[in-house]
Symmetry: C2
Subunit: 253 residues, 2 copies
């Protein structure tokens, strides 16, 4: 038996998230079915963590144990031929038996994209949250810095959270802005958050709150006082899922 680890990109638009749910189409189900067609085995795919309905992935990581003798360098193309167009395995490697895509993950990066300005980019409408009016990007950048470090993120977490501890560490939080598109009179603003782990809806609640900072409804300092309040009600709304992408997952070598 071999433990195989893969990196997979997907467009989450058509899926009810990553994790298998009875009666709903999920990414995990497609992967497990593809592997079954390829090997005849009923494997269970272990991911680095679920993503919500409509959320995308550039670099989701999963592993599974198989008796198949398919050479590892052929796995990606072989599996892609058995997957829908909106799921693409980008890399496959053999990992030690103890490797577990969720438990072994050391750091995760998410990206949230806001298209800010007059017109949306229609070819990216499934991937960019469109905000037509002015945003104060400097204030948003400042607000993000208050989140860096180890904090109790209970305020920025869905009340449906089931995790015991709501303490997480954010290693890096940055905002990058693409060049202004004169044609669309808008630009894409990317918010990158890297951390030890993320709570349920954490990135989307942070972005929903940060948008209020950008709109001038809150100040950058509020990002910190919301942390201190330890109350979900003190934060802003949960931003739409389609702007969110699981960017990268890091493992110790």
């Amino acid at each position: 038996m071999r433990n195989i680890c893969m990196t997979v990109s997907y467009d989450g638009t058509a899926y009810h998230g990553f994790q298998v749910q009875p009666g709903k189409i999920t990414v995990q189900e497609c992967l497990e079915q593809g592997i079954k067609i390829l090997t005849g085995e009923e494997v269970k795919v272990i991911s680095s963590g679920r993503t919500d309905a409509g959320v995308h992935s550039r670099g989701q990581v999963f592993n599974f144990v198989t008796a198949s003798q398919i050479p590892v360098e052929r796995w990606a193309l072989a599996l892609n031929a058995r997957l829908p167009d909106d799921i693409v395995v980008r890399h496959a490697r053999i990992v030690p038996d103890h490797f577990h895509a969720r438990r072994s993950a050391k750091r995760k990066t998410y990206r949230y994209t806001i298209r800010y300005g007059k017109y949306p980019d229609l070819f990216k409408r499934y991937m960019e949250f469109h905000h037509p009016t002015r945003l104060d990007l400097d204030e948003m950048r400042e607000g993000l810095q208050h989140l860096v470090g180890q904090h109790d993120f209970v305020s920025y977490c869905s009340v449906r959270n089931t995790k015991k501890s709501t303490v997480r560490t954010i290693y890096e939080a940055r905002l990058e802005c693409d060049p202004w598109d004169e044609d669309l009179k808008s630009t894409a603003v990317h918010i990158y958050l890297s951390g030890s782990g993320f709570l349920y809806n954490m990135v989307r609640i942070i972005v929903g709150t940060l948008l209020q900072v950008g709109e001038g409804k809150r100040t950058s300092l509020d990002m910190r006082s919301i942390l201190e309040a330890k109350d979900r009600a003190s934060a802003g709304p949960t931003a739409m899922p389609h702007g969110l992408m699981l960017w990268e997952v890091f493992y110790p070598e």
Copy 2:
């Protein structure tokens, strides 16, 4: 009455092309319905030319005559609110009565995008034709140059063509390559063709033939001998529609 000219982008994936066809959803129909909801008028939209099913547009141009008094600077946002997400009007202006989006057009540019290399970019899968094996881009670039100038393009034209004259002028033909994406082991290759006008399927047949040049099945010089043959059967297949985008339409100022 005012003659209004608009520039419109659309994702052609969901449409049976631009031009109204009974019983099928087209871009023109959506535009005319949007204008009707806005003004109550049954207008006829005149485009710079039809685009086929699945073909996209960055800068399609159309005009229509209206009695509406909506200020021209409000037209784009007002109409966008009444259009589906995959059609976005980017600009509106008042033009002289004699302006006709098709007859007044002086030059058109199309772009065709091939994703060349191992993996497709799944977030652009509706816009890029994926070609997994090697392409000789230099030979393709050379092949394109044989098309520049005034020629009878009947070999590069669908047999369903209804136009009397098949002579057209290509002003510019170029191939641009994006930086190599190490992650996807592929890159996007964009073919831009600018001309006085294009025959039915002309860009797609040129690209389908050029792909054979890139694969080494033909030489760059064949692009010229195909012109001289004046026979559709001498050219290659019609490339898939989804890689094609109407890029820009030029009018005399």
